[in-house]
């Protein structure tokens, strides 16, 4: 046998082996996700747990970069007919996913077709509300959801003569407390991460005022923004006023302002409940506490409930029926109380089912980690209204950029709160109309 032939024989043998192997293999389910670092390892261990729990299916998690990269990657794959079964999509991509009717396999439908056990009422309504259609059907599977809370520096509070166990409850108190903190030598009162999400979107839900018409876009694509209402203008105007004396200090669009809280430049910080782990790791020289978001006391019905951010798992069409059975089985495993409670306690994301919350309580997690349940209390404070169910706007990734731009112009004093918010509304509406045209 020549060397060539030998090589060919080996190759054929290897091919036959893999082919045979595939025939007996479990059904593989591709799961594209955006969880890097520690969170990514946790995702791997969830998949491994599911794979070990049964023998028919094998979930293969694939890290695809950040949220935007994962979503655009999955969409490009769909166009090339190479899409994964499950893709993790962040909340601002919800409207785009929902509008892609032929591309997504709604979760309620999937569970029904697969004959899997599925009780939508087991999930926290304020979480699933974001991802249900107007008939109350769940379209995607909640995975990692968080909500903004108020972190405060207890050590600085004590130094300023404030009670370290009483965070400010209202916006006027935010101002008073900040002034006292500044008098005690702290450079800035408070800062915020993700300003559009915290100071506009959650602010609206928390005060039970609409972000946009048509139930914040849930009831139709012909929605328009409402974020230039007198209450919004008052709030943003107050923050702009405070920016001058550094009662409020802007620190960037995403979580760029976190170091201001870590190095005690700012004594209070509003950001996602999932920022808890980072704060724990970085708040070395001070004690910190967690409080609910402040509200304006003169607004009737405030505080209502806050809304979520984070991501859900969407199922894409175009695969075999048997494979979707595996997806359904995996979703059942994923929402079991044990898996959820573990995920919630490890990451600071919300538990998506009431059972997981109860289990965490029973395990004494909240006693050991004070403040970890503020997010859940805030989410479940009241039954969600059409204003506080969530939001669903097309092109929202770009619209958030517009809101960011206009807010920055307001903080810098280039525009008044009214001018900036009016501009955000009119520019945002243009993009909503564009989305409506593309999808109706």
């Amino acid at each position: 046998m020549t060397l060539h032939r030998k090589f060919a024989a080996v190759a054929v043998g290897a091919f036959a082996l893999t082919a045979a192997g595939q025939a007996f293999a479990q059904t593989e389910i591709q799961w594209w996700h955006a969880m890097g670092g520690k969170l990514g390892e946790k995702v791997e261990s969830i998949a491994a747990g599911f794979n070990a729990s049964q023998g028919d299916y094998k979930v293969v998690p694939v890290y695809k970069g950040n949220y935007t990269e994962t979503m655009t990657g999955a969409i490009a794959a769909f166009r090339a007919k190479k899409q994964p079964h499950i893709v993790q999509v962040f909340e601002v991509g919800t409207a785009s996913m929902m509008a892609a009717k032929g591309a997504i396999y709604p979760v309620y439908q999937l569970m029904k077709d697969a004959g899997a056990e599925f009780d939508p009422s087991a999930y926290l309504p304020s979480v699933t509300g974001y991802y249900t259609d107007t008939d109350g059907n769940m379209l995607s599977m909640p995975f990692n959801s968080s909500t903004p809370v108020l972190y405060y520096n207890k050590t600085a509070f004590a130094k300023a003569g404030l009670d370290p166990n009483t965070p400010p409850k209202t916006w006027p108190e935010m101002g008073e407390f900040s002034k006292k903190l500044q008098a005690a030598g702290i450079a800035c009162g408070f800062t915020t991460g993700w300003q559009s999400w915290v100071q506009i979107e959650n602010f609206s839900a928390w005060h039970n005022v609409p972000i946009g018409t048509k139930e914040n876009g849930f009831a139709g694509l012909d929605t328009e923004f409402k974020i230039n209402s007198p209450l919004h203008v008052k709030h943003i105007g107050q923050l702009a006023e405070w920016q001058k004396s550094k009662i409020f200090d802007y620190g960037g669009r995403r979580s760029d302002s976190a170091p201001k809280f870590y190095n005690q430049e700012c004594a209070m910080y509003m950001n996602s409940s999932a920022a808890l782990a980072g704060i724990k790791a970085n708040a070395k020289d001070f004690e910190f506490g967690v409080g609910m978001l402040p509200y304006w006391p003169d607004v009737a019905g405030a505080p209502q409930n806050s809304i979520i951010g984070g991501a859900t798992l969407w199922v894409l069409t175009g695969h075999k029926k048997a494979e979707y059975k595996g997806v359904a089985a995996f979703f059942n495993y994923l929402s079991s109380a044990e898996v959820q409670a573990d995920w919630h306690q490890f990451t600071g994301y919300l538990p998506i089912t009431t059972a997981a919350y109860e289990l965490s309580k029973k395990q004494g997690f909240y006693e050991k980690n004070p403040g970890a349940d503020v997010s859940i209390k805030q989410m479940t404070l009241n039954k969600p209204t059409p204003n506080s169910k969530g939001l669903r706007f097309g092109n929202f990734v770009q619209i958030r950029d517009i809101i960011n731009e206009e807010l920055e112009a307001i903080w810098a004093g280039k525009k008044s709160a009214q001018e900036g918010l009016d501009a955000a509304v009119s520019r945002g509406n243009d993009l909503l109309r564009k989305f409506e045209k593309e999808n109706s």
Partner: protein, 294 residues
Amino acid sequence: MIKRVTFKHKWLPYALLAPQLLITLVFFIWPASQALYYSVLQQDAFGLRVDFVAFDNFAYLFSDPTYLESFEITIMFSVSVALMSLSFALILAVMADRVIKGATAYKTLLIWPYAVAPAIAGVLWYFLFNPAVGINAWILRAWFGYDWNHTLNGTDAMLLIVIAAAWKQISYNFLFFLAGLQAIPRSLIEAAAIDGASPLKRFWTIVFPLLSPTTFFLVVVNIVYAFFDTFGTIHATTRGGPYGATNTLVYKVFNDGFIGLDLGGSAAQSVVLMVIVITLTVVQFRYIERRVEY
């Protein structure tokens, strides 16, 4: 005297050109034609529905005041980047050309930044100037009393991305300038020195004019770099903010297309960008090249 070569076979010149033509076709002409095609369409992200909309995408662009502002921003950014990277590179090259001891070490060190990816360069400078923890921001505040804040101040943000984008390009320009300098006959400079011309005078009357082909080439390359290759730097630092102060044309293309998934609008923008760069290059070759002495 240029040597003329004639081929006996008719197909040979085409065959020799073919690889280059193929590359141009696959990597330049084909994508450009796709951009043109997409720019007249409007489609949802998944490509489930595609509508022909003629020039709607363009009409929308030019009715958007922020898009027009983005032109001014881009011009300011590109000119600043080109000026800054060229002038620093020239100074460094002239210095390195005069160094006798350890010249290779200097040169190697000066070339290093070119190996840094644009996004990394951006993050590096972003961190140095971070208002909360950056050492440069701290120095500015402590020594000069300047409250640097690129998250809020548009001028600061623009300066930041100009520095980050230019810093990387200095190495590239440095290499070319140094090669250009070394090609200048020593005898010319020595003769001028004997005639009593000061180093500065020698530079402006002999070296600088003789460098003009290099300078011209670098101006073209730098402008194209600033126009096209800087979205990574911007994405890793300011993301076009604050209030659009660093939203250059190419960043908008990237952001609308790959983040916002608005393929039609993004394609229309890249067509506009294509037209601008073609015009710029033609202008540069027509009017500026005439004044270059080879």
